[in-house]
């Protein structure tokens, strides 16, 4: 190494401390983040009658979080994310059905299966446009649905997978009919995976993903192996979706073919967009809004609630997602003392 380049590194640059503060600041916990999690856990005591619904929200939030990892942080548009949710659900359901009722074991198995599928299919997404990606992801989900339908000896086909019986969580907490164990269990899984995701997106790896999303050409020109990074995050996202599917299978003790539905893939995208893409809490917020809407609307108009969901989507796009996002950050930023870097 020559003197000229050495000189650049060894001298402690006066701006270095400020630079460190700026970089670290973007990863600092904001007050409202604590509030979100405190509220989520407080709900166990405060909303004892809503625990089944809250469990669904937690699972949907995890599913949307997994989509956020690829859509918000890597720019991959997927119309078939249900493939991983569904695979995870069937994997966990089958593991339990064949006698291994420990929930955590099921989660691991589901995450593993989904990760393998995600890894294998991620290579199909490296080439091609948004449209090709949409079609390939959609195609894979539909193929799995056909497969699950056909192999009914294993999956129960159109009748769904029945006979899923779960052992107590950690050998102590039995699943109850009020959904108390289910919600606490799902929420804890969500929290752990959320913390991991938060770490990842604020890591050097996460920074490189943002770069790939913003400008793949330049990302390559600073020496980033774009394909390797995309494969990695897609695999991780698939595992997350698989865990969400597993939670759903374990807490409802049932899996049906519609886990692979196009509607499910579309819904999760809607959930994420409702909550906002690319800041990790979008999935949680979106799941809350979506399930609350679904719960309220289907009590009012039964099977037609999808109309209103569609209307929300249309309005959201017409008004502009970024404008709504800007409004939201205007509300939160002043309270976090302008911490945005």
């Amino acid at each position: 190494m020559t003197e000229a380049t050495m000189a650049v590194t060894t001298a402690q640059a006066p701006a270095a401390p400020a630079a460190r503060r700026l970089l670290i600041a973007s990863a600092r916990w904001r007050w409202w983040e604590f509030a979100v999690w405190i509220a989520a856990f407080a709900a166990i005591v405060l909303l004892p009658r809503q625990l089944l619904l809250l469990n669904e929200i937690a699972i949907l939030a995890l599913f949307a979080l997994s989509l956020d990892l690829i859509l918000g942080y890597a720019g991959i548009v997927s119309l078939g994310h249900a493939a991983f949710f569904g695979l995870g659900a069937y994997a966990a359901g089958l593991i339990a059905k064949f006698g291994y009722g420990d929930p955590l074991l099921g989660l691991l198995g589901a995450a593993g299966c989904a990760a393998v599928l995600g890894f294998a299919t991620s290579f199909l997404l490296l080439r091609g446009s948004d449209l090709t990606r949409l079609m390939v992801t959609l195609g894979i989900a539909l193929m799995l649905q056909e497969l699950a339908n056909r192999e009914s000896w294993l999956t129960g086909g159109a009748d769904g997978l029945q006979g899923v019986t779960m052992a107590p969580v950690l050998g102590r907490f039995d699943f109850d009919i009020f959904g108390r164990t289910a919600y606490v269990y799902s929420l804890c899984v969500l929290l752990v995976l959320f913390l991991l995701a938060r770490r990842v997106v604020h890591s050097p790896f996460g920074l490189s993903l943002r770069a790939v999303k913003l400008n793949p050409l330049r990302a390559r020109a600073v020496g980033i192996s774009v394909n390797v990074r995309l494969v990695a995050i897609y695999t991780m996202s698939a595992a997350y979706a698989g865990v969400a599917g597993a939670l759903s299978a374990q807490t409802t003790q049932y899996v049906s073919l519609d886990v692979f539905d196009f509607i499910r893939s579309a819904d999760v995208m809607l959930v994420l967009v409702l909550g906002g893409v690319g800041y990790l809490y979008g999935g949680i917020l979106g799941a809350l809004i979506f399930k609350a809407m679904q719960d309220y609307l289907s009590s009012v108009t039964a099977q037609y609630w999808q109309f209103w969901i569609g209307l929300v989507l249309v309005i959201l796009v017409l008004v502009g997602r970024d404008r709504i996002g800007a409004l939201f950050s205007r509300i939160t930023v002043p309270f976090s003392r302008g911490a945005r870097s």
């Binding site: 079609m135 195609g139 796009v317």
Partner: protein, 286 residues
């Protein structure tokens, strides 16, 4: 064998008429419209209702279906869709999924969730013997109508001034505006024709494909396959892709019923991996 091939061709032709509008908006204008099936739904429902409630003749219903869907298409294009041409694909996907959700629920609410029955005229019933196979007259009717439309469409795109204007507008809207082309009008007319054809396809296909509120969702993937596999370069690509898809689907359901749609999806994924620009796209030099 002949029967299957013939049914496949009829099915493929029908798919082409249903999807060709999408192949223009998505393939040429690069607008991801997942709600294309909604226009087919409109055509199918107006036909069923006119025939069953007012006793309008089937033959008269076909052009009405075209006009009805075209009118809805142009209305939506002018009020909503045209705002989204330069938005991201994600926005387009979200918006059109929203439209699909609204359509499905609204139709379900107004018309009920059952399938719409279309009684085709007696003249089109029955079968004829042809090359040792038995062919439904209605299938033959579909092939003739769709074949004629295909020729018209191809001529319209290649030979007429409107066709060259459309191609110019798609290539570079700003340059086209500079040349005095009313780009908005061109897009609106294109959209109207595409929607109209989908509506006609819906009317023709109600008997073959089944027509219930979930039609736009059920057939969305087929339309998308036609466009992506056919490639964005031409309507001809979409035509051949439709025929292949139609024949493969009918043959697949007949010979390997258990594999069902699995094969279709698998082939689509393979084609897209092999040639992301579509099977019939001229290989790009870029």
């Amino acid at each position: 064998m002949v029967t299957i091939l013939f049914d496949g061709i009829a099915y493929g032709m029908l798919l082409f008429i249903l999807a060709c509008g999408l192949s223009v908006t998505l393939g040429l204008m690069n607008f991801v419209n997942l709600a294309h099936g909604a226009f087919a739904l409109a055509g199918g429902y107006i036909t069923a209702n006119l025939m069953n409630r007012l006793g309008v003749s089937f033959f008269l219903c076909l052009p009405i279906a075209f006009l009805f869907s075209a009118a809805i298409g142009v209305l939506l294009e002018r009020t909503l869709y045209h705002r989204l041409y330069d938005r991201s694909h994600l926005d387009q996907v979200l918006f059109t999924i929203g439209i699909v959700f609204m359509t499905v629920s609204a139709v379900d609410y107004v018309m009920g969730s059952g399938a719409q029955m279309i009684n085709i005229p007696d003249a089109l019933r029955g079968r004829v013997e042809f090359l040792g196979g038995s062919i439904g007259v209605y299938r033959l009717f579909i092939i003739i109508i769709c074949g004629l439309l295909t020729i018209l469409l191809q001529l319209g795109l290649v030979r007429t001034r409107f066709g060259s204007r459309l191609r110019a507008a798609v290539d570079d809207p700003r340059v086209a505006r500079g040349l005095g082309i009313n780009v908005n009008l061109v897009f609106a007319v294109t959209f109207a024709i595409g929607s109209g054809l989908a509506g006609l396809g819906g009317a023709l296909g109600a008997e073959v494909l089944g027509m219930d509120p979930t039609f736009p969702v059920k057939f969305m993937i087929y339309f998308l396959i036609v466009v992506t596999v056919g490639g964005a370069s031409s309507v001809t690509g979409a035509f051949f892709a439709s025929l292949i898809l139609g024949i493969a689907d009918v043959a697949g359901k007949y010979y390997v019923p258990k594999a069902g749609a699995f094969i279709i999806y698998a082939i689509m994924v393979l084609v897209l991996i092999w040639r992301p620009q579509g099977l019939f796209a001229r290989s790009a030099t870029r």
